[in-house]
């Protein structure tokens, strides 16, 4: 039995990654790809990687053409544009996994503050599960709409949440210093992401102002049971894919490095995609996979947590397929192990 899926906004990097995973996913048929660009292009003109692997055109979005034709939609549209369409699809009975930020935050005012737009579908805000299965697996199962997480929040929450939940670290004064490859900045031409601007350079951006900040705060506040406000600094690194997050928190107890590691191992020992490793993670260790590697070090009275993941896989398309598997009652790892998805 095959499930027919549609992908909205199929020109970008996360969409290409999704297509490649779905091509390996038994039981999925990619039925519709849409793009907001006017020209009708063959998918291989947009993604030459798919030569001989997928044969279809990118179409303009058309609700009628989707209803009755696809069972599930992955929306890779930008925020606000996504919710406008997603709400129609869900109303029409189509299950949706939304890559945008539209349903991640629980509060429309916070959304408006950070995204500077009124939420197009306020009625669903706060009722959509946050698609990080390691934290919210039960809410995702059987949902009709899932908010696929931000790449930075996943990389920050996975190492921090178990220690925050266990009360081992103070929830005040947490510093999250993240480093991302350039694919995270998207495929729209901008001077700042031209090759000669990024290559042989590292820079910080959006200090204290990045839109993933409230998402991280929401995840950690839930874990702490109180309001948490982190200092979050993203950096742009001259590589295509990967996020490394180095997080710093004050110890609330005198826990040893070994005890900190044991808490992480207890949290993730049964998780298929989170590996608590002894050595120091590198993004190349997880590139092209749905894994997140993480570890802890104690330095003085602080814990230093290091995590890494592939921003396009565990940070986007891989997480989406993990959520898809949960939505559809499949084994959560279908199409995602072993091997990889470049």
């Amino acid at each position: 039995m095959v499930t027919r899926v549609g992908i909205l906004g199929a020109r970008g990097y996360a969409a290409l990654e999704l297509i490649k995973i779905l091509l390996r996913h038994a039981g999925v048929e990619i039925a519709v790809l849409t793009s907001r660009q006017p020209e009708q292009l063959h998918v291989c003109q947009v993604h030459p990687q798919l030569a001989g692997r997928l044969d279809c055109e990118l179409e303009q979005f058309n609700l009628e053409a989707l209803v009755g034709n696809v069972d599930v939609v992955f929306s890779c549209l930008p925020h606000a544009a996504s919710a406008e369409v997603v709400s129609q699809l869900v109303d029409a009975g189509i299950k949706v996994i939304d890559f945008s930020a539209d349903y991640r935050l629980n509060d429309v005012d916070v959304y408006k503050h950070w995204y500077e737009v009124d939420h197009p579908d306020p009625g669903r805000v706060g009722k959509v599960p946050y698609g990080l299965p390691e934290l919210y697996r039960e809410q995702i199962r059987g949902a009709s709409l899932v908010a696929n997480p931000g790449c930075y929040p996943t990389s920050a929450a996975l190492p921090l949440v178990p220690l925050v939940r266990a009360g081992l670290v103070s929830s005040a004064g947490i510093v999250i210093d993240s480093k991302s490859g350039v694919s995270g900045a998207g495929r729209t031409p901008k001077m700042g992401t031209l090759f000669p601007e990024c290559n042989e350079s590292i820079s910080a951006y959006g200090i204290g102002a990045h839109r993933h900040t409230p998402e991280i705060n929401q995840l950690l506040s839930a874990a702490a049971g109180e309001d948490v406000e982190v200092v979050f600094t993203p950096h742009l690194v001259p590589m295509n894919r990967g996020i490394l997050t180095t997080a710093y928190a004050d110890l609330a107890t005198d826990a040893s490095e070994q005890e900190l590691m044991e808490v992480l191992q207890a949290a993730y020992g049964d998780e298929p995609f989170v590996q608590v490793v002894e050595g120091l993670p590198a993004t190349s260790h997880v590139a092209g996979t749905n894994y997140c590697h993480l570890t802890a070090r104690r330095v003085g009275n602080k814990v230093v947590l290091v995590s890494c993941l592939d921003n396009l896989v565990k940070g986007a398309a891989g997480a989406a397929v993990q959520n898809y598997n949960l939505l559809m009652g499949l084994d959560e790892t279908t199409g995602l192990v072993d091997g990889a998805v470049i």
Copy 2:
């Protein structure tokens, strides 16, 4: 039914790639990994990418430990060292796919000239099929030993052979200008492949002297039915993986660009892994896959052929699994489509 396999020389880049493909290959169990390094290390200390995916130690090579334990061996040992071991394995009834150059050349004198060593197993030279299924599929099926091709020869032979065979290009004066990522230089520490030496730089090396030259000549001579000697210039490009080959040949007839393309399409229309593309190939289009993209352009009285492949996959581990599938009577694409193997 599961086939147990061993991998010799498992510390390198091609071996890691092979492990990742085999982990996705239903019906294969990785039973033994060997290394010539004295310390006994867990595979995840050598390849942190495999955390949670493979749990075994690298062992010293031991013929007795392999016989009766594994059905097939992939040898990723260097030339000469490989043939010494391979000959024993084949004698013991183990099927072998040899990544080294030892069984690729048909003539022990040519081998000695280029590799500066007496061939350790001269009796088999010239009797082992060259493992490029697109050219030698029937010889590979049912063989007990296959010589896995060099990465450059594959990238050069796939575009050139159909035109040479069809007599459309002169076999004299062919120029092959290849560009390779640095993983092709191996994982042994050398100053020349340190990051600061390679990054932000491109260089030519081994002009007229690269050991893949006789292998290319042998493939094209077979296609031409006469001795062919190419001018082959490899270059080192600041990227991890990928080979782009630009080949130049004099037209022997007045064939149009379209006719040249049609000959390529006729040759590869049914091939699962060779895609004749209209646009210009880029190595990123095939990275992490077993595909080779190629195309032709006519400029004046010459044809310019451009091909690309991933040197670690179609140029090494992917080709090896293609050969494995043929040896074992499996579908040739098992474990290799769709998706990828980074």
Copy 3:
């Protein structure tokens, strides 16, 4: 005595390189920078590299503001746009070094064929010296307008011209396979030069159709004394700066490799910026400098020439200052040795 100079089109990579060289050039004052963008920006907003080094605004081009204010103009405007302005400046008595292709080709029809536009200043075509001092030094001295060469033509002509002039190679069938860093594609946002599109990839482009082809043909035809048509294939390499050219030509005599090298050494022994090297050149050897390294290898009946230069220096801004020095009667190396200009 200080010469006041203006730079038109000062936002791009070559302009930045030019500014950095001129800041070290005793006797030059950067008096005016122009840009065609509407916003008036401080030069450090456009080029943060210049913080504390240059303090001025980018202005809109204004002929009146330049006449009487500057002695020399460097035009980094695109083709056609450049000649429109340059002709006015020269008429007004300002000396100009033009980075565009407008005055490089000697024939307005060839110009129109390749640039698909009528030449805006046809009367000067064919009368402007081509600014490659190693070939046309005497014509450049004392000129009022110089056509600064293309980066690829410089890298191809320097190794080939001495051998063509000496009749050592056939002028028919020359293949030029060039590899360039991405800064050569300019600073205007385009999807094709985004970091994730270029990184970890090499590709050929413009095969047989690149606009530097007629420029190379013109240089080699002049050297050969007969019409030469090369096959020229440029490639895009994942690095910021640098061009490596590998050129292939049929030997016309039985010259040895040593004789070929001697001809090159004789041609360039007194040149300050061309180094005939024994080893194989790499672009990192010349990055940030005005040097061109080149060498020759004989393979069968062909010579393989390898040259490298920094496309932004010897391929653009450094050559421009070399020309400036000649125009002004200064030592040709002023501001260009030793050290470098990143």
Copy 4:
């Protein structure tokens, strides 16, 4: 009047950078280059970048050959090896700028703890000026031996020291998250710095254990007037050169972002090489130069400081020439502005 200098350990990246700066430095003659490698090589075999620019051989170190022959020595030898030689040179009346860590720490026990070796020249420890002119200019002038600073300590101390001195930030709990290019790891072949290991990857290393930690603590303790212990995490970034440091400190007062910036501007307004910038620094803004760009942002109750410099220039060879100029009573910027030194 020309000063004759020697460079010990001339094969590495910092030594090459130093040579390139000194070639532009009027008044310096490079008289001796030494290497600990047995083969006697021409400097252009070791550094092909110097073709046509420097003509000499690398020699074995020989005290007698230096005394009376050179006035100043730059030692690029590793720690412990450096002090053994430096002490002899200083005793013989030669001025020395030492790139190693040997004379940076004021306490032989701290040195032994971190470097795991007895100090070879304990008598001078604590009496040698730390060569960061922005902090210790007066001590450097007229000294006979200067300890050239570590690259990370320079990048951390320059933004932090003015705020610590002013009492604006707490000296407890400071987090320093630094990101370095790979040239910082040296030119000795190691698997960890091979191109394919570093490219497309970022990783943390030496968390809480990097040998620059005590050097940072010493600098900040001096500024604070009390013992400071930072949490320092270095990262390896896929680029050749550059360090970006992001430092986090708790505000001790309610200073606004503007006030924090004003303190930095007051500290560095007259410094030739430190630029307090409004925008966010990137390592490409300072590559190849002796500049350090830095800025401050307030986020909640913390200040986030970002600084960048070129680890081979301001972090090594450029700082050494700055120190040389001070030692010799020259203008501090000689040979270092404008332009750059790649």
